[in-house]
Each structure stands twice: as C-alpha cells, then as structure tokens.
C-alpha cells in the first residue's frame, strides 16, 4: 500500500534516493509526487483504466455468489496471452536499450545471497564504463543507498506487496535514471527465487545468484528460476569450508534445467573468481 496516496496493494514506488522524488504507478497509470508531498489522502472512487471502471478502496464490495453458467450471455473468444502486455513492453525496452548501446542485466536470487555486495564491488572495480543500478525491494531505500555509497547512480523500486519487478517498473526506473549511452544497467530484482522468473523486463541477460549457504539442491526446488538463467553466479565461496555444499552437484542440477549453463563460483567478500564475472559482463556488450 502506497503511503503517499493510500491507493492499494498494487502500488509501486520508484524513488531516487538522491532527490527524494517519487514516481509511482497504479495499475499502469504513472504519476509523480515531489519529495515531501503529502498527497491525495481521501479514497475517492477512482478509475485505473481511463474511466471504464471505478472503485474505492475503503469499502469492500460483497462477493457475489458465482452464478451457474447462465443463459443470456454471449461468448467472446479472446485467446490472449495474459503476460502479453508485459512482454510487449519488455520488447520495447529491449529495443530502446539496444538503440542506446545499453546493456541490462537482471540479477535474481533468494534474499541475502549477496546481490548488493556483488554490485557494490562491481561498481568499485569497473573502470571506463558507467554502471547504473535499479534496486528492487518490497520496502526501504537501503540497497539504493548502499549503491550510491559505492559510487553509482541508483533508483529504488519499492514493490510494496509485489514480489517481483515487471517490465513497466524497469521502464519507469530507466526514465528516472536516464543512463548515458553505453552504460551497464544492473537490475537487482526482489529477493525471491519464484516470482521474478516469470516476468521479462527487457533485459539482455538473466543471472541467478545463489550462495553456498543455501544448499546445492536449490535448482531442483526452484526450477523456473534456473531454467531461465543465462548465468549462475555461485557466491560466498569463502564459506565453502564451513558448509556441506557440493559445487559439482549444484552445476549438474542447474544444467539439468538449463543445458550447458555456465556456473561462476565467486566470493563478493574476498574477490575470488570475480575476474571471470567482469569478463562475462564485458563480453555482453560485444
């Protein structure tokens, strides 16, 4: 629920931690609040679809008993892909990025695998190329602030109740960031091994980060995420001596879902293996 305008569970905020300016969307309608603005607090009946339907959020309509398939209705064949709108927008974003020589990478993982730590280090150790970051979390500006402290521009997308980024959120974030041509756009998705897998953002590559404390069976338990991976980064290898984690088994499980996928063991803490990560990133633009 957006606390600026009190508008319900699907609200999304895109915050520039530098200026505090907030852009947010309700079901596809984007508007901007200046920093500190208190906003429209009265939950008037309103529309999210250009006046076609109206609703309020303070009164819950009674759920009607689902009627039996009734007479007097007309069947309309639709055959429409539910994710069609997201996928079309992702396609536009992909073309928009390519036209500006921008490379976008979507980092996905369970919470705490080390995505932000990996990004902080990547920012500090990448010379000669601007890195900008889109940070997705349900709440807080913490990760965007860490990225700024590491020296890169970032916007935070707070998804509220939402458990993943979608194409529209990345689009809004890119508009807010306005990266210079040739930049690397790193997208840190909401920490979650399930939902982000379904939503194309318009990125060039999908990276799944998994840390050695999570167990080598994770690909089998979260097959959708791993079947969509272009690269698997295995983080926290400095902790391998302390946990039962079989790197070969992890690799085999990941490849069972995504044949031939590359697995890069790294430690974002010690820097071990990061050269291969930087090479992989550099080759994406080629």
């Amino acid at each position: 629920m957006c606390d600026t305008c009190g508008c319900g569970a699907t609200d999304v905020r895109v915050v520039d931690p530098g200026t505090g300016a907030v852009t947010h969307t309700h079901d596809g309608v984007t508007h901007t609040h200046e920093a500190g603005e208190l906003g429209h607090a009265v939950p008037e009946p309103h529309s999210h679809d250009g006046g076609r339907t109206f609703h309020t959020h303070d009164e819950v309509p009674a759920t009607a008993e689902a009627p039996a398939h009734s007479h007097g209705t007309t069947t309309v064949e639709l055959e429409l892909d539910v994710l069609g709108k997201n996928n079309a927008l992702a396609g536009e974003t992909r073309a928009w990025l390519a036209a500006r020589d921008l490379v976008a990478v979507n980092l996905m993982s369970s919470p705490g695998s080390g995505k932000t730590t990996l990004l902080e280090r990547t920012i500090r150790e990448t010379a000669g190329r601007q890195v900008v970051v889109v940070e997705g979390d349900q709440e807080t500006l913490l990760d965007a602030e860490r990225i700024r402290a590491a020296g890169a521009r970032a916007v935070q997308v707070n998804t509220g109740a939402g458990c993943h980024l979608d194409a529209e959120m990345l689009r809004t974030a890119l508009d807010s960031l306005a990266p210079e041509n040739g930049s690397l756009v790193m997208v840190e998705n909401v920490g979650n091994l399930v939902c982000p897998a379904l939503f194309d953002l318009g990125e060039q590559a999908r990276v799944v980060v998994i840390s050695v404390t999570e167990g080598d069976d994770k690909p089998l338990k979260y097959p959708h995420m791993f079947s969509a991976a272009d690269l698997v980064v295995l983080n926290k290898t400095d902790l391998l001596p302390y946990v039962d984690f079989d790197v070969e088994a992890l690799t085999a499980h990941a490849r069972a879902l995504r044949p031939g996928v590359r697995v890069l063991p790294v430690s974002a803490r010690t820097g071990e293996g990061l050269d291969a990560w930087y090479t992989w990133l550099a080759e994406l633009s080629a």
Binding site: A9, T10, D27, G28, D49, R52, T53, F54, H55, T56, V60, P61, T63, A64, E65, A66, P67, H69, S70, G72, T73, T74, T75, V76, E77, L78, E79, L80, D81, V82, L83, G84, K85, N86, A161, G162, C163, H164, D166, V194, C195, A197, L198, F199, L220, P223, H224, S227, A256, L257, P259
Partner: protein
C-alpha cells in the same frame, strides 16, 4: 505470490477487450509448466475482480499438459515438470507445450 499480480493482469486483459460490458464468466488456459498455481489464481480472482466489470464472474481453468521435444532423438514426450527426461534417456529437450497463460474466452452480458 505472483498469482495476485497475474490475476490482476487477467482482469486488465479482459477489461481491455470487453468494451465496458459486464463479464459473467472467464475461461483461462494455464500450462503445467507455466509456473502459475491454478488454485492460487482461483483464490485471488474474487479480490482482483472487485469493483470491476468482472465482479461476481465465475472462473473456469483448463490445465494444459507439458510437452517436450528431445534434442537427441527428436521425439516428443510428456513433461510433468521442467526437468526434461526423454524415454530415450536424454535430458536435453525443449519445452514445446505447457507454458500457456491465456484468457481463452469470456461470457459477457
């Protein structure tokens, strides 16, 4: 739980294609490999339709089985999950069916 946002996308898709008419029923096709739990969609549907032209509509979900095509022997086989295992023993296959997430038709008043 992405099923709530998926269900909201279902509602938006229907509203966008029914010209403001009251919708009495919705039929979906959800693939076994789509990563969507039909029961979770059913659970979210009443909430997602509140205050829209779909409020009170029934929901029918047709489940589409998963199929893969083996890259070794080229045969098609049924896939119950995303781990391909062809009867020939190969584990290298592409998904050819079962990823659908479609609004197939609606009943309008």
């Amino acid at each position: 739980m992405h099923e709530l946002s998926i269900t909201q996308d279902v509602v938006r898709t229907v509203v966008d294609h029914t010209d403001g008419r009251t919708v009495a029923g919705v039929r979906l096709r959800i693939g076994a490999l789509a990563g969507i739990v039909p029961d979770a969609v059913r659970f979210c549907f009443d909430l997602a339709t509140q205050g829209t032209t779909l409020e009170g509509a029934w929901l029918e979900i047709e489940e589409e089985p998963g199929r893969g095509r083996c890259r070794v022997c080229r045969n098609e086989f049924e896939m119950a999950d995303l781990l391909p295992l062809c009867p020939c023993g190969s584990t290298d296959a592409e998904v050819v069916a079962g990823r659908s997430l479609m609004v197939t038709s609606v009943e309008v008043v």
